[in-house]
């Protein structure tokens, strides 16, 4: 049976993890490779590196970060945040990423999704959709949630699918960072409208939130960052909790 995936997101700036937890026994808390290895040992299903670097110099460091993280990691690795062009995608994939996540670049240039899917296959192309509730409708925002696009979240996710995206990474701007739970209505609306996997993101604060997003939210995978930083065995504990709730997970 296909397991629901638990994905850890590493926010990386200038080659170092932002908001990284100082795990006991982890020599370099801000080292993405060390943190990824730690999650891997704890049973994470996939790693996402989200590059939040603002400078061009920092962005050049992304490839070496990817190389370091992927060198001893034998699970899927996705990279997002710094992918603006086909060349950026090629650099990330060549460095060892299995997937690239496109957000603002896909909105600005939707055919980019098709070009990358044709070149690398749909399984390598994730379209990230940042959505926020506006007057009762879910709207897409670009540029880290700061720029309204006027796009409807469900319609845009469908278009991304039709252009060749292999997965949707769906983030609730309203919930992101709140630890108040995933936006299950948003997730269910998108997941029910597309025929590709949907990764829910934004708002994870407890194990119960993951159960909700896999049931009411109909998510295929759930992504979180900080929730995994707070306990040493958070991933394995979470998976045990999900299994006891009847949700299939890889143990």
């Amino acid at each position: 049976m296909l397991a629901r995936r638990i994905i850890a997101c590493l926010d990386v700036r200038d080659g170092a993890v932002v908001k990284g937890m100082n795990f006991e026994g982890l020599r370099h808390a801000g080292d993405p490779a060390a943190l990824a290895a730690r999650y891997n040992e704890d049973g994470i299903d996939e790693i996402v590196i989200l590059d939040v670097t603002a400078t061009i110099e920092g962005r050049r460091a992304l490839a070496s970060t990817i190389r370091e993280v992927s060198s001893r990691l034998f699970i899927p690795l996705a990279v997002g945040g710094g992918i603006r062009t086909a060349d950026d995608a090629a650099r990330a994939l060549d460095a060892g990423a299995d997937k690239v996540s496109l957000n603002s670049a896909a909105i600005a240039d939707p055919p980019l999704v098709s070009r990358l899917a044709a070149r690398y296959g749909s399984q390598a192309v994730v379209v990230a959709v940042d959505a926020k509730s506006v007057n009762g409708e879910y709207r897409v925002f670009a540029r880290s949630g700061s720029a309204p696009t006027g796009l409807d979240a469900v319609s845009w996710a469908r278009e991304a699918e039709s252009r060749g995206a292999g997965e949707i990474l769906l983030t609730s701007i309203d919930r992101d960072g709140t630890r108040a739970g995933f936006d299950c209505m948003l997730t269910a609306a998108v997941s029910g409208a597309v025929n590709i996997p949907v990764i829910a993101s934004g708002g994870a604060g407890s194990f119960a939130h993951f159960v909700e997003v896999f049931t009411a939210g109909r998510a295929d995978a759930a992504l979180a960052a900080s929730v995994f930083h707070y306990a040493e065995h958070a991933v394995s504990d979470l998976k045990a909790h999900l299994q006891s709730a009847g949700i299939p997970v890889r143990l």
Binding site: S114, G121, R250
Partner: protein, 246 residues
Amino acid sequence: MGGAIALIDYGAGNPTSVRKAFAAAGAELFTPQAPGDLEGAGAVVIPGVGHFAATAVLEAGWRDGIAGAVRAGRPLLGICLGMQWLFEGSDEAPGVPGLGAFRGVCARLPAGQKVPHVGWNTLDAAGPARLLSGVRGGTYAYFAHSYAAPVTDGCVAVTTYGTAFAAAVERDNVFGVQFHPEKSGPAGLRVLANFVAIAARRPGLRPASDRRRAAARADGIGRPRQDARSGSPAAGSGSQARGESN
């Protein structure tokens, strides 16, 4: 000891990941620049993600070299799209023949669940397998594909996603996995280590009669596919104008 293991880079997928995982499993792979380079190879690995049409490159230049290596008894491992190519063809690219080492045509995963099939799914053992030695039934492996091979002779592990499909195949010296061992954690590395061990044992330990039998079976390999589409499931209705993940 056999010679080094060749990793065929035909522009589909991420050979870097496969090379890295093999290194962790104890083998350094080399990339043959031309089919003639396969003559010195002790074993051959065909990776691949992406569209089945990408395997047309193999048809154009590599088929004879790969088929020759198989006839010579050298182990061959196809991964994901590389495994699909071991069959007679795929509905994804009907004009492109596969190697034909296994009977059947790959078909699109049925409607009714999300496609591509992405994530960790269980390997259910269908028979004893050298490639899966030490990998228990029910073990999770990582998949990312939209087309899949039928369960036919040679299938040694089945995975179910809407339908049961071949997750691993092996016969004589030809092996294939639909999942990505390079992305399947310790279980995946075990599969690669098993293949490395198989490659290292060849030739010498196997009785000559076995080798003749393998060679006789491999005689059918390398011929262009004849009307392999007939009898294939009527899948592929969700025809999508996209670079499909195999």
